[in-house]
Symmetry: C2
DNA sequence: TTTTTAGTTAGCTTGCTGGCTAACAGTTAT
DNA sequence: ATAACTGTTAGCCAGCAAGCTAACTAAAAA
């Protein structure tokens, strides 16, 4: 159970950085080598490598080294992890909204009946 | 444009911590005071307050102080921000998958025709 | 008006993040 | 065999994150 938490920690954490989101976007379109990933970023290779590591660590990216080239690819299951979480939250929230709508309707009624008293309080 | 990035940074970052996700989940069900939020966490108040600050900063939570009580509520628009991002990625990814399916089909064909040559290479 | 409650501010630690450079390693090309 | 290319490791730095305690403020309750 703590495991699941940790997975979410890592995926959300990985996506909390613009560079890493850009890498993910890039990998949505096609696999790419580390060098290819680095090009658009104007950043030293080792720095970019760290990002790739973090992405791998989160499960968002997998990579394989062939010869001297490491090819990276997206692992969409990790994205689904957070979609699942989001959906769960939204469901709870929406259930609550349903209850709330009823409640608000009641409040509005009450407001109207309070409006009479309010008039007498006008400074 | 950098603004949008920053917003995503903050929202993803806010959700990359289990405590904060728990707070969000809690607030999905109902508004709550800082003290109420703190109870289940066995954590000093100032520490929890930091989390609340971070959540506010990301736009996920809004709060208002009435008397000595600060009441916190979820701001679901921020969650939608990342749903939008996720959806965008998934669309790109799926478009790519469509292209890829065709490609894979071609590869499989090629594999079969290569199988003949492969036999002669068996050490 | 004193006491309790609820939150806040300040200040400290520990450890991770995100960036760098410099040096090294392994692979491919000449 | 050397040179060029592609990553990788090591080590450094600045700054933020997440936790703590202690001391303070403001509102409610007694």
């Amino acid at each position: 159970m703590a495991n699941q938490s940790t997975q979410l920690d890592h995926v959300f954490g990985a996506l909390s950085d613009a560079t890493r989101r850009a890498i993910v976007m890039r990998l949505c379109e096609s696999e790419a080598s580390v060098g290819e990933l680095a090009k658009p970023f104007d950043m030293a290779l080792p720095s970019l490598m760290k990002h790739v590591r973090i992405l791998e660590n989160s499960g968002l990216v997998v990579s394989e080294k062939t010869g001297r080239v490491r090819t990276c690819a997206l692992q969409t299951e990790a994205l689904e992890t957070i979609e699942v979480w989001l959906t769960a939250q939204r469901e709870i929230w929406e259930q609550r909204l349903d209850r709330l709508e009823i409640h608000v309707a009641k409040l509005k009624k009450r407001e109207k009946s309070n409006a009479h008293k309010a008039k007498s309080k006008s400074k």
